[in-house]
Symmetry: C2
Subunit: 385 residues, 2 copies
Amino acid sequence: MLHTPHGSIETPFFCVVGTAGAVKGVTPDELRELDAGVLLANTYHLFLRPGADVVHQLGGLHRFMGWDGPIVTDSGGFQVFSLGSGIEHGVGKQIGMFPGDDTPDTGRRPRGQAARLVRIDADGATFTSHIDGSRQRLTPESSIATQEALGADIILAFDEPTSPLHDAEYTREAMDRTHRWALRCLSARTREGQSLYGIVQGGAFDELRSASARFIGSLPFDGAAIGGSLGRSKADMHAVLDWSFAQLPEAWPRHLLGIGEPEDLFSCVARGVDQFDCVAPTRLGRHGQLYTPSGKLLVTRPEFAEDAAPIDAECGCYTCRTGFSRGYLRHLFAANELLGYTLASVHNLHFILDLMRKIRAAVRGDYLGELQTEFLSRYVGGAAR
Amino acid sequence: MLHTPHGSIETPFFCVVGTAGAVKGVTPDELRELDAGVLLANTYHLFLRPGADVVHQLGGLHRFMGWDGPIVTDSGGFQVFSLGSGIEHGVGKQIGMFPGDDTPDTGRRPRGQAARLVRIDADGATFTSHIDGSRQRLTPESSIATQEALGADIILAFDEPTSPLHDAEYTREAMDRTHRWALRCLSARTREGQSLYGIVQGGAFDELRSASARFIGSLPFDGAAIGGSLGRSKADMHAVLDWSFAQLPEAWPRHLLGIGEPEDLFSCVARGVDQFDCVAPTRLGRHGQLYTPSGKLLVTRPEFAEDAAPIDAECGCYTCRTGFSRGYLRHLFAANELLGYTLASVHNLHFILDLMRKIRAAVRGDYLGELQTEFLSRYVGGAAR
């Protein structure tokens, strides 16, 4: 159980992502009906718009969003740096790119990627807003101040994540900076009642991950998040988790940032992950990709035009329970009807939250391996039908 | 009370518009919580996509949309003809215009408006799909067949509406055609359990409206709808209603097509309108224009950025009751968050449905005039604050 000022949550759990202070297309009432325990909002987005002061003025993030359950905010690090290396490396979330920005290449980053959109210094990062092209700055101190103003239950230290394309040398440099920033984040805290998690970096390098987990684990954080590069394969990701968790305090909750496709949950829980967050259920939903026990179903395909069956006859979500047909959903997507995004997102969120419930029961009942075998024997995650 | 195969409804009532078989951004569950009695879907849109056969195949419109209350479909006439004269005259709903269509001007229409997108003949209308530019055709018979396949509780005769810019001569011509088509619609019916309403045309010409209402009222329809031009002012609209209703059978339910701003409801109910439909609540909502007892509030305005108040503290809708602030709603619109469209649409629908409930009580209690005076003394419909 994880205890927060907005309720206690059984682990492991999946945080539903509400990037800009709203889960796309889904109301808090619908989230409550889905039994979504915890939401995660992005500091980067709220910092830029409407601004943490505005959210604070409007009563803090819980009141702002109409959510009285626990909320996590990330530190902004991932988004700030994915504007730079993420875009330049062609990996990670691509938030937006404003060619108007002409910050000169500082030469600090490897392989010639121009730091056009983000510039790092020892003190923090200067970056270009994807909204209006303005220059903005976040430091460990301002990230913590922002997250304190937002008022989430769990906040994260400001870090510099690296991508799979960064070499060991640069990954170590970024890790060292993340460690110095971790100390500054701890010093910058002024508020009671918020948990602060440190972030373990070090890419997919055993030595670096272990060192980072040892260092972060030695500090007075309330938990840890695993950030940055998880390598290039599932095996790499599992190794990263093993290296990290071997060094972290037993009692700490562990958040694996940005991961949460159905097939990932089992192996990561088995390795000790307590918290996930992922935009996949809502993002895939908005593109008509629907989770089913036998894999993803792309409901926009012509073959579903006259299909009177629900997405999944066994599913208990609002969309399936009401009996909305695949044909109707396909029609909604073809007509760009907002209702399609809602019905698909509700279904996908139910799928993943329900899977987490089954996984929790399996952990308690000690049959996680059996559940995984059974689930994966039917589920083919890669290919949409 | 109006009795339909999907329940009985107290009149007067407001039909929530679900153009393409979905109320934009609002789930059937939310509609039920709003106590939305009756939905109206557009035959034109469903005829083009996904096709009435597909809707029929998927169980008919009620099953398709997940709505077990009464549904009205219009005949397609309004949309077909607003593609022609509506666009050419710059009035009415502008659905879309495909310059690729090069149907020659047939010379049948007055004032030189080229019938590029719609061509009328004695038998029906040929028009260009706003979706894919294909040529399509609707006749009285095919409109009825389409509406029978869709399966709404109340269906409408196929008509040719005229705009305020049509002269008396053309308006008479279109009215005569509408009357001939009304007879054909009655003959084309094959299905029990659907009410068929005739449509009164005749523009804002006393003689024509009276003649049309007399003719339509003499036929074995189950009710009447008032279509076409309602003139250029509220006074014109009221005269059109008076001329029409003087000639219609006392017992018939009367639907005023496409009207339903708050300030219109009182005077139209006083004149005998039983049914309204209007896209305004959801369309205005999607643009951040929110109904309040003191007029429309444009929540996207900068002054609301830090406004912690709900849209209307007295309002009982989900959006206001939950306490979502004007500042939050403004943020959702600024960030193009889907949730903003939903919360605003739910609020506006609640406002108009609640006003209709108050109007029904006032009609029963014989104080409609007092309610109107009280409402209009506060409500300024024209200008958004």
